[in-house]
Symmetry: C2
Subunit: 275 residues, 2 copies
C-alpha cells in the first residue's frame, strides 16, 4: 500500500507527498496535529492539514525568520518568539551570541512535546539555558508585555484556527508596545500568489503603526507557491541600511549577508501588493 | 466527478491541480501533449506529464528567460529561441525594439499549433513579422549556425525525452560557435532542491566554454520546488556589470531593473552548487 499525504493549499491546488510512517495523528486542545515521515522531505509536522516544517527544507524558514531582524538590530538582547513550538527559530536565534534570552510562547504544548521527540534536529536548543519556554497564549503575552523586547518574531500558522488573531491590527499595536524604543518585529505573512489580499492588508496595518516597514521573500518548496513572504516592522533600524560587509558569515544554508539585501527585492507584482 | 491532474515532480512528491476541461490529450511525434483548463492556474500546457506553462504564472518564466540576457547585451539584433513553441519567450523578446529578428526553432509543431489555438495570451506574437518560426531540431540548428546570433535562449523541457541532448556539453560548445563574438546564451536549468547534480554539471560544463557564467533564480509555483534556475554564459558582457539605472521599465509583472541584480543572489546552498 502506498500512502500519500495531500495538502490542498487552495481549494483547487495542492502538494502531495509519499508517506513512509505516521508517528502521530491526533486532535490536540487547539488543532489537528500529525507527525509524518515522508520519502522526499523526511519528517514532517502538519497542523490542521498544513505542512509546518520538514527536515529537508526547514532551514529556509527558520533562518529567514531569525537572521534578517537580528542583523538589523545593533544589539538584540531580549528576543521573543510567538508560536514556533518546533524550536527551529530558537535554534537560529542562539547563533547570535549577543542574545541573552530568547522567550518562546507557544499555545500548544503538544507541538513542543512531539517536536522534541520526533524532530530533534530542529528542536534541539529548546532546553538551552538562554531559552525560556512558555506554553501560553502568545496574543495575551504580547498584550501584557511593555517595552520589554528588542526583537519579536511571529512564527505562526496560517490565519485560520488558533493563529487568526495574530494577523489583526490590534496584535501589531500590541507588538509595538511590547518592543523597546528601537525594537523590530518580523512575521511570516504567507504567499503572494494565493493570499495577495492578506499581504496587502497586513502591510497596510503595519505601516500605520511602524515607521519602517519592509517585506522580503524566500523560497520554501513545501509552502504554497514556493514563495513565502515576511513582513518586518521597525521603530528605528532599517534592514536596507545595514552595512552587509559587517555581517559575519554564520553557519547557514539559505541566509547570507548578500541575501540580506537581495531578499528584499521582490518580484514586480509583489512590489505592487506592498507599496 | 472531480478531475485532478497530478505531476509527480519526484518519485515521492508532486503537485495536483483541479481540472475543469481537457482540450487535448495526444501523443505527438515527440512526446505526450495535454492542454488542460485548471481552476487555480487557468489553461495549462503539459508535456510528458510535466507542467510547461500556465496562464496564471507563465509571465515569470518567460520574462526571466528573456530580459536578463537582453538587458545585458548592449545591442541584441539577432536572437534565437531553442524550444519555446508556446511563444511566451518570443512575446517578451519583442518588447525590445532593438531586436530585428527573433528565430524560434521548435521540434514539435503540435506545441505551436495548440498554443496558438488555446493559449493566445502567450503565443500571440508568433505571427509577428520580426519572428521566424522553424519547426525543426534545435540541436541541429545550433550545430549549423556559426557566428550568427547575439543572444540564444534555450527554452527546453526537462532533460528527458527530446530535450536530453540540450543539456550536454557538446550543445553548449555549439551554442558558443553559433554566437557572435560578444554573444550571450541563457538556458533554463531546473531546480536546486531535486536536481542539484544537474545544476552542478551544467555549471561546470558551461564554465569550461564561456568566460562569464552566472546563475540566477525565479519563483515559479507550478515548477518543482517553486525555485527555478537559469544559467547564463557570456563571451564578453557580465550581467552583474549592467548599470541598472539605465534599464528602462518594461511592461512586466516579475522582472524589474532591481531584480536584474537581486535574482543573481542565490540562497547559500545554491551558491555552493554553482561555485
Amino acid at each position: 500500500m502506498e500512502l500519500w499525504f495531500t495538502e490542498k493549499q487552495t481549494p483547487a491546488f495542492g502538494i502531495t507527498a509519499k508517506v513512509t510512517e505516521t508517528f502521530v495523528a491526533e486532535k490536540t486542545e487547539f488543532q489537528d496535529l500529525a507527525m509524518l515521515d515522508t520519502e522526499e522531505f523526511g519528517r514532517m509536522l502538519v497542523l490542521d492539514g498544513m505542512v509546518m516544517t520538514t527536515i529537508k527544507d526547514e532551514f529556509v524558514y527558520h533562518e529567514m525568520v531569525a537572521h534578517p531582524a537580528l542583523f538589523t538590530h545593533p544589539n538584540p538582547k531580549q528576543v521573543l518568539v510567538v508560536g514556533g513550538g518546533d524550536g527551529g527559530v530558537i535554534r537560529e536565534i542562539l547563533k547570535h551570541p549577543e542574545v541573552e534570552k530568547a522567550v518562546l510562547v507557544e499555545i500548544d504544548g503538544k507541538v513542543i512535546e512531539y517536536s522534541k521527540k520526533y524532530l530533534p534536529e530542529i528542536s534541539g536548543e529548546l532546553d538551552n539555558p538562554r531559552v525560556e519556554v512558555l506554553v501560553n497564549d502568545g496574543y495575551m503575552h504580547i498584550i501584557e508585555s511593555k517595552n520589554q523586547y528588542d526583537v519579536i518574531m511571529v512564527d505562526s500558522t496560517e490565519p485560520v484556527g488558533p493563529a487568526a488573531p495574530l494577523f489583526e491590527r490590534g496584535f501589531y499595536q500590541g507588538i509595538y508596545e511590547a518592543l523597546r524604543e528601537d525594537g523590530i518585529f518580523v512575521a511570516q505573512t504567507d504567499n503572494p500568489w494565493f493570499k495577495s489580499d492578506l499581504i496587502r492588508k497586513v502591510t497596510k496595518d503595519v505601516k500605520e503603526i511602524f515607521p519602517i516597514v519592509r517585506v522580503y521573500g524566500a523560497n520554501i518548496p513545501t509552502y504554497p507557491s514556493g514563495l513565502w513572504t515576511f513582513t518586518m516592522g521597525s521603530k528605528a533600524h532599517d534592514p536596507l541600511q545595514v552595512d552587509i560587509s559587517k555581517i559575519p558569515e554564520l553557519q547557514t544554508k539559505y541566509y547570507s549577508p548578500r541575501l540580506h539585501q537581495a531578499a528584499f527585492v521582490l518580484p514586480k507584482f509583489v512590489e505592487d501588493l506592498v507599496r
